[in-house]
């Protein structure tokens, strides 16, 4: 097995999908000869040609809107949007059409497409390169929203997303694109959608995170475990919508306490929904209010301020202490 970074695992998944299914095609800006601004599509145009790895005009609505037509007419398009902050010109296509074509045609037309979007901040990028607006998409019925936290899952979830007959918004945590390597099997495998992963079992509380924050949260949890003998159950949500309530509720019913960590702003962030649902479903087992640890309710700031905007290890530790001490 090869030791791959997350972005290399994405590249591997795309290569496997394209080898396996000739309907799979990639389209986006700079994804061809340049291999994408993060090199996620590097080498693919050379292998599969310009008809399957397509550098498009610079237009998110065009990339996503033509992908609708491609998808309903027999292709499996995998459009890339360079950064989450650039998806908004194509937002109408996502919420008005991509999410609704199956419903609007009573199943006659499906839109099997995977929109790959780097998300999250703290890569020292200019403004609008650091968005965590997964709520916009998780709020939209008909979409499946996925966010891997490691190379193994990135490859398996992306292949499962490409297999899906429903449209998937595949959020790639760009801060950890190259932060570490992990063993990733060669060849084709999938990691099922709609299933959270219990990263580690524990008894004192449940900590839920995804994407970049999963690893950072796990670092804090392990430190607290070493220092304080804490036993935390850590859940990687993986699919943000529809999310795996069963796994989350089962864990919280066991531990009685829950903390949600995300890089999106707190107000109406996914943590709000998860906390509300836990409050409804697990009320008799809850020993403390559900704690949310999120970014402040301000736009992602310029990078000199971004480390204070996102949840810090101290805030995660403090939130966990709050949940435990109630």
């Amino acid at each position: 097995m090869a030791q791959l970074t997350l972005v290399q695992a994405v590249n591997e998944a795309l290569r496997e999908a394209m080898r396996r299914d000739e309907r799979v095609m990639l389209l986006g800006e700079d994804i061809g000869a340049n291999g994408g601004v993060f090199r996620a599509t590097e080498g693919l145009m050379a292998e599969f040609g310009e008809d399957r790895v397509v550098d498009t005009p610079l237009a998110e609505s065009g990339i996503l809107g033509t992908a609708v037509g491609l998808a309903v007419n027999g292709m499996r398009p995998v459009p890339e949007i360079q950064f989450m902050g650039f998806i908004y010109p194509g937002f109408e296509q996502v919420v008005s059409h991509i999410a609704r074509i199956r419903m609007r045609s009573r199943g006659r037309f499906a839109v099997p497409m995977v929109v790959r979007v780097p998300f999250g901040g703290r890569i020292r990028a200019p403004e609008l390169h650091s968005e965590s607006t997964e709520t916009f998409f998780a709020h939209t019925p008909g979409l499946t929203v996925v966010a891997p936290s490691n190379p193994y899952d990135a490859k398996g979830l992306l292949l499962a997303s490409i297999e899906s007959n429903d449209p998937v918004i595949f959020l790639e945590p760009m801060r950890i694109y190259r932060a570490f390597r992990e063993e990733v099997p060669e060849g084709y495998y999938t990691v099922p959608l709609r299933e959270a992963r219990v990263v580690q079992e524990g008894t004192d509380l449940t900590v839920i995170a995804w994407g970049t924050m999963l690893r950072e949260t796990l670092d804090v949890v392990r430190k607290l475990e070493a220092e304080q003998g804490l036993s935390a159950e850590v859940i990687d949500l993986r699919t943000l919508s529809p999310w795996d309530e069963e796994t989350v509720f089962a864990s919280v019913n066991k531990t009685g306490r829950a903390v949600v960590v995300h890089e999106a702003v707190g107000h109406l962030g996914l943590g709000a929904e998860i906390a509300a649902r836990i409050s409804e479903a697990c009320i008799l087992q809850l020993e403390a209010p559900v704690v949310r640890i999120s970014s402040f309710d301000v736009p992602p700031p310029p990078f000199s301020l971004e480390d204070w905007h996102a949840p810090t290890p101290e805030r995660i530790a403090s939130g966990i202490a709050e949940a435990l001490s109630f």
Binding site: G62, T66, A67, G74, S96, H97, S105, R106, G142, P242
Partner: protein
Amino acid sequence: MVKPAERVVQAAAASTGHEKPAGIPDALLVEMYRQMVLIRRFDRRCIGLQRAGRIGTYAPMEGQEACQVGVGLALRPQDFLFPTYRDSGAMMLHGMPMDKVLLFWNGRVEGYEIPEAVNVFPVAVPIATQLPHAAGAAWAAKLRGVDQVAVALFGDGASSEGDFHTAMNFAGVFHVPAVFVCQNNQYAISVPYRRQTASETIAQKAEAYGFEGIRIDGCDVIAVYRAVQAAIEKAAAGGGPTLVEALTYRYGAHTTSDDPTKYRKPEEVEEWRARDPIAKLGGQLREWGLWDDEAEEQLQQEVDSQVSTAIAAMESIEPVNPDDLFLHIYETPTPRLLKQRDALRAELAAKAQGGIAPWRS
């Protein structure tokens, strides 16, 4: 290069006058007329149904029959149609059953059902968003080597939207088999054409995207048919996209919720009515010896019967099934959706017993 405005003159010259147009069989000329009469009857009945509360808001198309029929008849069965809410005529000609169209306007999910062999995309309600879809579907046909052209319909207002530019640009860059048909009916609800663009024509915008744009008389069904058929043929032969601007007019309101007397003068409507596509072809058919009073009377009876049958089918449908709320959101429903469906079932069962079910989020 021939300027778009000159092409209009050429296209118009090809189909006006008293000579029977060459190359179009008599049966097809009669069919054009029959279809225009049918959809006018359909359209007027829909307005009546809305007034009587038997369907919801409706977008009338009277005045645009030549565009609807010219496009509908030019399409080959395998071609893909991307319609807006004012394109019921073209949709029906391309295979969408009339009772389904009525059910759509009646707010029923059954109106979303498109028969398997019918290549009509669901109606686009946002403006111009269907144009990239058409470009994409055409692109897929090209990549798959399938003999299929995607035809999109839109209005003059749509030419102001970003998706118009985006779709034309993609279609041009990837040289896809798409035909974009603008029904320039002079108004986007109340906003007149001169407020949509400073261009003399919409057709000329195609020049900027590297393909041909033509402007035609949208009140002349033969002109529309010929232009769209030629564009489809060209696209199918690998000649790339075409933008067709058909000059037309909607006699009525934008929708049944709109009052056009607030923004249009009656004289203007009368001017356009003098160019009525149905009266025009009807007169020509009589000149050519293809039509008479007896045929007209029989046709009126036929269309009346056809529309009435579809209305009866629309109104004889089973009561709405609340379970339909939860279908086709995902290929496989989520556990949460199933729970919500069950909660709604419980609510309705309790209500039937005169009670109230416990609320479940």
